[in-house]
């Protein structure tokens, strides 16, 4: 862990919100004018955001919140988030022109993974796990074919299909308990069918059971699985160890430093509550 110490790296900036709009059912997209951090962003990187005032008494909510970078281009940085608690509710109230604090980019990205993009990619996104996928697709660009497998747990569409299709390219969308996207079931169904047709590396982001299942699929088909892991996190800079998760065979990793992007086959998913 101590080898990961760096004295340069992330920036902390106060930036202007350009747009902040709901996509559907509590999922929102916030775009900020944030050229310095956008210029450094790679797929899987995250930022901490504070969209409510800092205060001498710490303010409320207390901690800035971590979010995957959804997109970074033309000096703009966007975040895809779901309204889950007081912090994301506060975020949803930030209007165009308001100032928010952004710290980042943080963590290890997919670009640091040992992989060959030319081999093509399967992207697996569960629910709000869509967040890092647009930047991943931009990064893959023309370097390799990519198919996005998107799955929703709750049966009702959280994101607008037209919006999803506007950036997702080759897309397979499923909803767990309804044909909201034309197909019912888990995304691992179509992902496994695709692996039977053609083996490709996988990049996955979503809830822990999904990451565990996708990692298992990758193991069974002998293809690398890079996951963007998630954990409750306080500092985001590697000092508090609240986001530490277990590795197979002992040892742990900090989601904010050795992650969030890492080899899914190395994670001890069974121990993560």
């Amino acid at each position: 862990m101590i080898n990961e110490i760096s004295v340069s790296g992330p920036l902390i900036r106060e930036v202007q919100v350009l747009e902040n709009r709901p996509l559907a059912q509590g999922a929102c997209l916030m775009t900020m004018d944030c050229p310095e951090i956008a210029a450094l962003a790679e797929p899987g990187h995250f930022v901490k955001i504070r969209a409510w005032p800092e205060a001498e008494d710490g303010g409320r909510p207390l901690l800035d919140r971590p979010f995957s970078i959804h997109r970074a281009r033309d000096g703009q940085l966007s975040i895809l988030y779901r309204i889950l608690g007081p912090a994301t509710y506060q975020m949803s109230l930030a209007s165009a022109g308001s100032l928010v604090k952004v710290s980042g980019p943080l963590g290890r990205s997919l670009a640091e993974a040992d992989l060959n993009p030319a081999a093509g990619f399967y992207l697996a996104a569960g629910g709000i796990g869509l967040a890092p996928m647009a930047l991943a697709l931009d990064w893959l660009g023309g370097r390799g074919a990519a198919t996005l497998f998107y799955g929703e747990r709750r049966g009702a569409a959280q994101v607008d299909r037209a919006w999803l299709e506007s950036w997702a390219g080759d897309l397979s969308a499923t909803a767990e308990a309804s044909p909201a996207y034309g197909r019912t079931g888990l995304l691992t169904g179509p992902l496994e069918e695709a692996l039977k047709r053609q083996i490709r590396p996988i990049f996955a982001c979503g809830p822990t059971p999904m990451l565990a299942a996708v990692s298992d699929l990758g193991g069974r088909y002998g293809t690398p699985v890079w996951v963007s892991a998630e954990a409750g996190m306080a500092c985001g800079f590697g000092v508090c160890l609240t986001c530490s998760l277990p590795l197979k065979g002992g040892g742990r990793f900090r989601v904010c430093r050795e992650g969030p992007v890492l080899d899914g086959l190395t994670v001890d998913w069974g121990k993560i509550g």
Partner: protein, 306 residues
């Protein structure tokens, strides 16, 4: 800004350049945040607590936010004292920082061995954690009992090769000043308080605790009034310096602790909110002194009118 302020603080043989210290567990091993807060700019860096062997800590989730507070149950995950001496301490000292090692064990013998191991190293002082609530058999058992704190303190003082020993106290003792006095009598150079307050948070709909460890330690602005009282109680009882911590988020917070008698303060949760926090607090403290016409913190320290 022309006047020179004297911010130095003395703890036994050690002179700190200013009274703003990083609290253990919130500043890593000292260099992780150097881009935002150079460790040598602080009075001292107190590194993440270390035990004789590496500890894996608790399972995830380890953190939950409450009203103006932060609950954590990291469980003292750490690299162990050998890795600390070999990998973490040299670059921290090379950066010019004053470095405190925070030590934790399950029995007095473990504290004695940790002190002995650190005695010949460049570490500037030891902070003895007798009070972390997040391990099953450590912390509180020692921390709330004056005799046990005295025993652990003596074990460290006798083995640390003369380095200053700071004993970090729990807010859980029924008579915190009595525990602090026991540390002083056993040879502590200073005490620091408060450690986190045992606490819990639950998910109502999910019918589950928010922390995998079920219970954790509360820090942040929510605990500041508790800390302020206990620091005040200790400062007026002890003759050794008292280092105050608990929810310090601003220069005013830091100055309040000094007003009730703290020699120095530690910044913890605020650093997790913003890694620049300790430096901002130091700058704010300087500005306040200039505005108030103070040259030296002794003009404020312990001057509370009651």
């Amino acid at each position: 800004m022309s006047r020179e302020l004297d911010l130095r603080v003395r703890i036994a043989s050690l002179e700190l350049k200013n009274p703003i210290l990083s609290a253990s567990g919130t500043f890593g091993y000292g260099l992780e945040l150097a881009g935002f807060c150079p460790p040598e700019a602080l009075g001292a860096v107190i590194a993440k607590g270390v035990s004789l062997q590496p500890w894996p800590g608790n399972e995830s989730p380890r953190v939950a936010e409450s009203a103006s507070g932060l609950l954590n149950a990291v469980g003292l995950e750490n690299m162990g004292v050998e890795a600390f001496i070999e990998k973490a301490l040299p670059p921290l000292k090379a950066a010019g920082a004053t470095a405190g090692a925070n030590i934790l064990g399950r029995r007095p013998e473990e504290y004695a061995r940790l002190a002995a191991r650190l005695s010949g190293t460049p570490v500037d002082f030891l902070e003895v954690n007798v009070s972390c609530p997040n391990v099953a058999c450590g912390g509180l058992a020692f921390g709330a009992d004056p005799a046990a704190v005295g025993e652990v303190t003596r074990a460290v003082v006798e083995n640390c090769g003369g380095k200053p020993v700071v004993v970090k106290l729990t807010p859980q003792a029924s008579d915190v000043a009595a525990v602090a006095l026991a540390a002083e009598k056993a040879g502590a150079s200073a005490v620091s308080l408060i450690n986190t307050i045992p606490a819990m948070a639950v998910d109502l709909e999910g019918r589950r605790p928010k922390l995998a460890n079920v219970v954790g330690g509360l820090s942040g602005p929510a605990v500041k009034p508790v800390a302020l009282r206990q620091v005040w109680l200790c400062a007026r009882t002890l003759s050794i310096p008292v280092i105050g911590l608990g929810g310090i988020c601003s220069a005013r917070d830091a100055l309040e602790f000094i007003l009730v008698g703290a020699a120095a303060v530690q910044v913890g949760t605020a650093t997790l909110m913003d890694p620049r926090a300790p430096l901002k607090i130091l700058e704010g403290l300087r500005n306040w002194m200039l505005r108030e016409g103070l040259d030296d913190l002794s003009q404020l320290r312990g001057t509370l009118r009651v």
